[in-house]
Amino acid sequence: MSIADKSTAKPRKLGLKERYAHLTRGLGWETTYQPMSKVFPFTDYEGIKIHDWDKWQDPFRLTMDSYWKFQAEKERKLYAVIDSFAQNNGHLNITDARYVNAIKLFLTGVSPLEYSAHRGYAHVGRHFVGAGPRIACQMQAIDELRHAQTQIHTISHYNKFFDGLHDARHMHDHVWYLSVPKSFFEDACSAGPFEFLTAISFSFEYVLTSLLFVPFMSGAAYNGDMATVTFGFSAQSDEARHMTLGLEIIKFMLEQDEGNVPIVQRWIDKWFWRGYRLLTIVAMMMDYMLPKRVMSWAEAWEIYFEQGGGALFEDLSRYGIRMPKYHEVASKEKGRLSHEVWATFYNYTQATAFHTWIPEKDELDWLSAKYPETFDQLYRPRFEYWKEQSDQGKRFYNNVLPQLCVTCQIPMIFTEPDDPKTICFRSTLYKGERYHFCSDGCKDIFLYEPEKYIQSWLPVHQIYQGNCGGATVPEVLNWYHMSLGNDNMDYQGSPDETLWNEWTADRHKSAI
């Protein structure tokens, strides 16, 4: 073909396959000015051996331009719905204002994790040698950023009407119980790129997220919170892609080298346990914070982990991967987890950006029915006692700060796997200092990387050392950007309750 022919010929449109190859694999190259090992310094030190990056199967054949087009269209509809709910006073359609406390916990505890995930994927996406995983990480980084934005935009509507939603970012970085999700993600982001993907893409997204997204979205929908359901639209469809990436990265590592198997297994063990501990807040949301319940935590654990996860690990057994260590402990705890955690937040709600309460009688009955082996014997009498105290004007607030687990940073509230009446204490000596843990799972994680975890920023220690605004509750709350008596304390008597009763009284009147 001559040059003249070329210039007049209509440019040939690339086929889908070619186009895809150019826009993904075609973007990578072997460096020449600098050795590859210097350009990608983090790919070796974790011990994972990759022999052929091209063996990476892209879970979704998506190029960046089609990603933008597809997501932009989805987002346009999504924001139309968000606006519509805001204009129609969507907050008045929820079942009860107590429900909003689950949203407060979500905005301060979970949405900032979406942003952390965005940063994490952007970082590791830079550090993989293969173009396949780099592109997948890049897209997930943008997904996570979109999720953070959508959640903030959706929940901003509730911020106009309820307390505790005004400064989620600051709270996430300062408040005691929020150091649990924050430290979880910082642990992952400060690990190597392969561990990060095992932690977040596999253990969290693949094994555990369905416990958060399906029952929580169902709870939101059933309780009339269509605003939260809208970010479910956005998140769930991306989630399917993320889960596929999670499984792909695990299979890729396992197929590349036999030596990778024990490393990956150790990460699965660690991140299963860390993820499970993080989900304690979800257990509490499901059993205590939804005025209309969907399913108990124990039921969710059975459906989504014991059955769903069991099948997954059976599939992975051909690579030599077994169920995560201590999964049986998680199953033993399923009948008590939410009760232990709600009781703790009930104790310390003077320092939380959400309200707690004693469940109503029919709610206690629901818990008795869902937890026939534990609730009446172990937990109901305590709640009834607290209710009695509260009715006499002696609502109990615990003013002694709890000891924290160095690894998960949750107060040491969990009980022995085989004895729900004894607190589970574990400890170890390291370089002359004693460190405490809530479980064998958390202790194992510490023992493998003690130099990492001795740096944990433990809120209780920091408060006692005077690093959190002062020595009194009002000073610490001020440092947290919480307003005493508004954002915190019991729901009964809170401004949220007062306003809600006014609004709904008006609604009832106008209905007549």
């Binding site: 989805k74 399906v214 359901v229 639209f233 969907v294």
Partner: protein, 97 residues
């Protein structure tokens, strides 16, 4: 001169809602819930009585995927054959155990 408006993409009507049953799990119904546009779909799970209440509250017509039909009908039949004394006294339909 006023340009004819660029193609105005339709805003989804949030009052139009649909439900599609995709499966069951024990006493739970698994379903897709859509508001206004098929792109705005979320996967949910509810106990059967709560599911019925949810469809009614949202004025959402429900369809059942062929693969889920048999299991859904079993759940439906069973819920009507639960003898009354097993219902919690005074419990609302969503608390049917």
């Amino acid at each position: 001169m006023a340009e004819p408006p660029a193609e105005q993409p339709g805003v989804p009507d949030i009052n139009k809602r649909w439900v599609r049953v995709t499966g069951t799990h024990g006493d739970f119904v698994l379903f897709d819930f859509t508001i206004g546009d098929p792109d705005l779909t979320v996967e949910l799970i509810l106990p059967f009585p709560a599911f019925l209440e949810f469809c009614a509250t949202n004025h959402a017509p429900a369809t059942v995927e062929p693969a889920a039909q048999a299991a859904y009908e079993r759940l439906h039949r069973r819920s009507w054959t639960i003898p009354l004394p097993q219902r919690r006294p005074g419990g609302a339909s969503d608390r049917l155990l």
